[in-house]
């Protein structure tokens, strides 16, 4: 599996509960944000994105919330399932011509 998860904070949730994963971003000029999911031994997978002109965006079982005042991004997963166990990380784009900058991630562990 991926060794990248060994040094990350862990969020443990009960199957069926809602999960909230938080990310503090660094650049107040960032205008675009993405959440990725990375399962052990695999590449990151796009979950959902949001632009800075929005506060909230919903997908299937996931919601992303953006608070620009405190530079905070959160990912909410409804009815968490064992298959949601993975490392989650956010990415920000510090301006229209900039490349994405990735956070270190949080490990989500789902208890049966």
């Amino acid at each position: 599996g991926e060794s990248v998860g060994l040094h990350l904070p862990t969020l443990s949730v009960q199957e069926g509960d809602n999960s909230i994963i938080n990310c503090a971003y660094s650049n107040s000029a960032s205008d675009y944000f993405i959440w990725y999911k990375q399962e052990s031994g695999k590449g990151p997978q796009f979950i959902i994105d949001i632009r800075s002109n929005m506060d909230k965006r919903q997908g299937q079982r996931v919601t992303v919330l953006l608070n620009k005042t405190v530079k905070h991004l959160s990912l909410q997963i409804a009815a968490t399932q064992p298959g949601d166990s993975a490392v989650y990380f956010c990415a920000e784009r510090p301006g229209a011509n900039s490349k994405l900058t990735f956070g270190k991630g949080i490990t989500l562990s789902v208890r049966p």
Partner: protein
Amino acid sequence: DAGITQSPRHKVTETGTPVTLRCHQTENHRYMYWYRQDPGHGLRLIHYSYGVKDTDKGEVSDGYSVSRSKTEDFLLTLESATSSQTSVYFCAIGSGPNEQFFGPGTRLTVL
């Protein structure tokens, strides 16, 4: 990972040897990226390409070079591998600058 492959998936090499990693896509996407992923760090951009023969450096480009002679292939070369380059390397592709779909990764160990 559909449409993007990386080879090899695992490689062990010795310090001082050259190493080339290959990223291959079947999506005809314009943008291709190489990242490394290490414990305690987020993904860090090594090099990227915005078209055939158009490449640029990322934040950790020292010791790496890239080439893109055709749309579907983006090669990453470690000119003289060092132990600090032991890492998991990910290629990503996208049709636009915000879009990035990642490959399965290559685990490289430099002894």
